[in-house]
């Protein structure tokens, strides 16, 4: 059930008048909603008895607030089409793009269980939820741990009118520059759909790792881990030639932050220009028979990546905000997101409150970029 207290949200008339696409509206139905769609008898029995399977997840934002909890249901929970419609109305969202709320799913040990959850989730959301209203769009879950199963899900749902891309993760998982994911990219390109990647295993830098064992606070864990993982994912896909092989592929990075983009563009270009020869040792570039990448790393980032606005870290000085929006190529790459219902929720108010954002840029952020990238 949605439990949104509308008075808590400063929705203005301008926000209501604007057409707002939210590219990260987490839809997280309880297991009982998915069970009718679980086919595997063993999985059905286990999920009936024990609910969502346990993971190795340890970190929780609740340690850092006086409220406790895990911060994932701070603004309610959307489990049904009516919930989505109700919340969208209260938060002035015109087109919620539903993203799976199961961000720790890759950490589940049992592949059969998590494949069944993905299959059941995608079926439930696309058969029972998105048909309820034209403007509800969906990023179905990708079982990223199983590339062949990813292709099955893409083939199953890729032509559905409500599907605007597929949803995977950047986290402490294999980076997608690995050639085992080529079949996934091929399927996405075939269906003309982007790959959306969200921070996964939220706040889970494994303790066995020396860095993970050293982290003590949520500021380090949530504040820095997502951007670091996102940077590594972008760099790995670029340097392993994914976009030379799949020049039509678009990737959307969700909740990984934005302000690091100019940094890695400059850093990667410089290091690549200094030391380019090892590119010939990467599998995909070898397969393509190339001596070097076709473009500079920064050009791939500009041409193939977009970024969710949440979390938007706005500099205090307007001139710095203007520079940030310019250096991150926000006019073409920034797309509004709320992260509903997590405690990190943001509404569209910030796009109206700074002279650094003119009307054209605001429209690009609130809907134009999303319409183009998600082929809406």
């Amino acid at each position: 059930m949605s439990e949104l207290k509308a008075e808590r949200y400063p929705v203005t008339e301008a926000m209501r008048e604007a057409f707002v696409v939210d590219i990260d509206f987490h839809f997280e139905p309880a297991m009982e909603k998915l069970l009718p769609y679980v086919d595997h008898p063993g999985a059905k029995r286990t999920l009936s008895l024990d609910d969502f399977p346990p993971t190795t997840r340890y970190w929780a934002s609740g340690y850092a607030t006086p409220h406790g909890g895990n911060g994932r249901q701070t603004h309610g929970v959307a489990e049904t089409a009516d919930d989505v419609i109700d919340v969208s109305e209260k938060l002035a969202l015109d087109m919620p793009i539903l993203t799976p709320g199961y961000n720790t799913l890759p950490d589940v040990q049992n592949v059969v269980l998590k494949n069944e959850i993905v299959r059941a989730y995608n079926t439930y959301v696309l058969e029972e939820v998105s048909p309820a209203k034209e403007n509800i769009k969906v990023l179905p879950a990708l079982p990223q741990w199983d590339p062949e199963q990813c292709v099955e899900e893409i083939e199953l749902w890729g032509d559905n009118d409500d599907v605007v891309g597929f949803y995977g993760f950047f986290g402490h998982y294999s980076l997608l520059g690995n050639t085992q994911y080529d079949q996934v990219f091929e399927a996405l390109v075939k269906h003309d759909l982007p790959l959306a990647l969200h921070g996964g295993g939220t706040g889970n830098w494994p303790q066995k790792d020396l860095i993970g064992n050293s982290i003590r606070t949520w500021t380090e864990m949530y504040g820095l881990v997502h951007p670091v993982r996102a940077m590594m994912m972008v760099g790995n896909m670029v340097m392993n030639g994914v976009f030379d092989k799949y020049p039509e592929l678009q990737v959307v990075m969700i909740e990984g932050g934005l302000n690091w983009v100019p940094f890695i563009k400059m850093r990667m270009d410089e290091v690549y220009q200094d030391h380019p020869e090892d590119i010939q040792l990467t599998e995909r570039v070898t397969e393509l028979g190339q001596e070097y990448l076709k473009k500079q790393p920064s050009e791939y980032i500009e041409d193939h990546f977009s970024f969710s606005s949440q979390p938007i870290d706005i500099p205090k000085k307007t001139k710095n905000f203007e520079a940030m929006l310019d250096m991150t190529n926000a006019k073409d790459s920034l797309m509004f997101a709320t992260d509903y219902p997590h405690y990190t929720l943001e509404l569209a108010n910030w796009t109206f409150e700074s002279s650094a954002i003119d009307e054209e840029l605001r429209e690009n952020i609130l809907h134009e970029n999303a319409k183009r990238v998600f082929r809406i």
Partner: protein, 109 residues
Amino acid sequence: MTEHTVASADDIPEGEGQIVEVDGLSVAIFNIEGEFYGVSNRCIHKGGPLGEGFLHSELPVINKDRKSVHCPWHFWEFDLETGRHEVNPSTGIRAFDVSERDGDVVVTI
């Protein structure tokens, strides 16, 4: 400075808050053990309504004596007497002089 009667004291029970409009400003009024406090209703972080927030004293915290409010959006915490942010006192929100007089809550702005 002008005094504004904004509510009846009975309308704001202990441990609760209320949002009032004063001279074009949105002000969050709180009642902690019969004492009234007032701060700007708009959080400096993302604009969340502090009047809908959580009083520190009402939360399961160790130091319940702290007179502060947590924004309902992202839990930024502000001292109700000074308006200062609890972990970054160099920033904060506006705090107002609030008193109870003859059963009315009076804000001076």
